[in-house]
Symmetry: C2
Subunit: 147 residues, 2 copies
């Protein structure tokens, strides 16, 4: 079986299920997200250009925004860096962000059920989501190839 990643037919279904029209830009964007998790709009745009030449950058933003609204894609926005997007939305995982190069990696929450994600005093807030970000230096930034 080769269905390790959703194939186009599945992507099309996802888009349709979200109540959105299936268009070339949207398919291209969603496909790009499968192969490159945690990418910026810019990088996605480059990838989309290859799959659907002539697609406008604005359409990439549109598609991403629509997907986020529809819950198909998650938007993460590390401080001081452009937005990044990922297709992994089902589970509640967190992110390691490199303060040097901006590289992002997924981390599953150690405790599964996220114990500290329910603050004692929510100050009248209706909490919708808890986000955990770990800041540090990634392996390659710590160990640049010595020349």
């Amino acid at each position: 079986m080769t269905d390790t990643l959703p194939i186009d037919a599945d992507l099309e279904k996802s888009i349709r299920a979200a109540g959105l029209r299936v268009t070339a830009p949207r398919l291209a964007v969603l496909t790009a997200l499968q192969s490159h998790p945690h990418t910026s709009a810019d990088t996605i745009y480059a990838d989309v250009e290859a799959r659907a030449p002539g697609t406008a950058l604005q359409s990439v933003y549109n598609a991403l925004s629509d997907f986020v609204d529809a819950g198909l894609v998650r938007r993460i926005q590390p401080a001081g860096q452009p937005m990044r997007f990922e297709a992994r939305v089902a589970d509640n995982h967190h992110h390691l962000v490199c303060t040097s190069c901006g590289h992002v990696e997924d981390v599953d929450c150690v405790t599964g059920e996220a114990p500290c994600l329910h603050p004692a005093d929510s100050r009248g807030f209706a909490i919708a989501e808890a986000e955990v970000t770990f800041w540090g230096m990634c392996a390659s930034c710590r160990n640049p190839a010595v020349s």
Copy 2:
């Protein structure tokens, strides 16, 4: 005693202790941060204008940046919103951010020692800091005064 908030003399000491020169813009910025926690550079600028007329916006950014580098101030950057700054740096607390109005509140970590702040697999990262943000709707955004 009226020393509920650090007074100017203390602020001056803090700045000096950080190895920075004491200037009017810096004092004004640090003072503004005492009274208005979680404010954006813009808001701080407005406050500073009153205390030290003629101060440039750039100087506010400079001062804030220097303070952050020196560890006197913490920079928080909620997704989709301008940077905010707070003078509370000693303890490890987290933030509630209103998705509607952007209002930020402090929350102390329930468990004190932040159990989920040590991911099982750090993927080669040298983790410097863990940041927890709760997203939701604040009380006033949930309950707008019924007209």
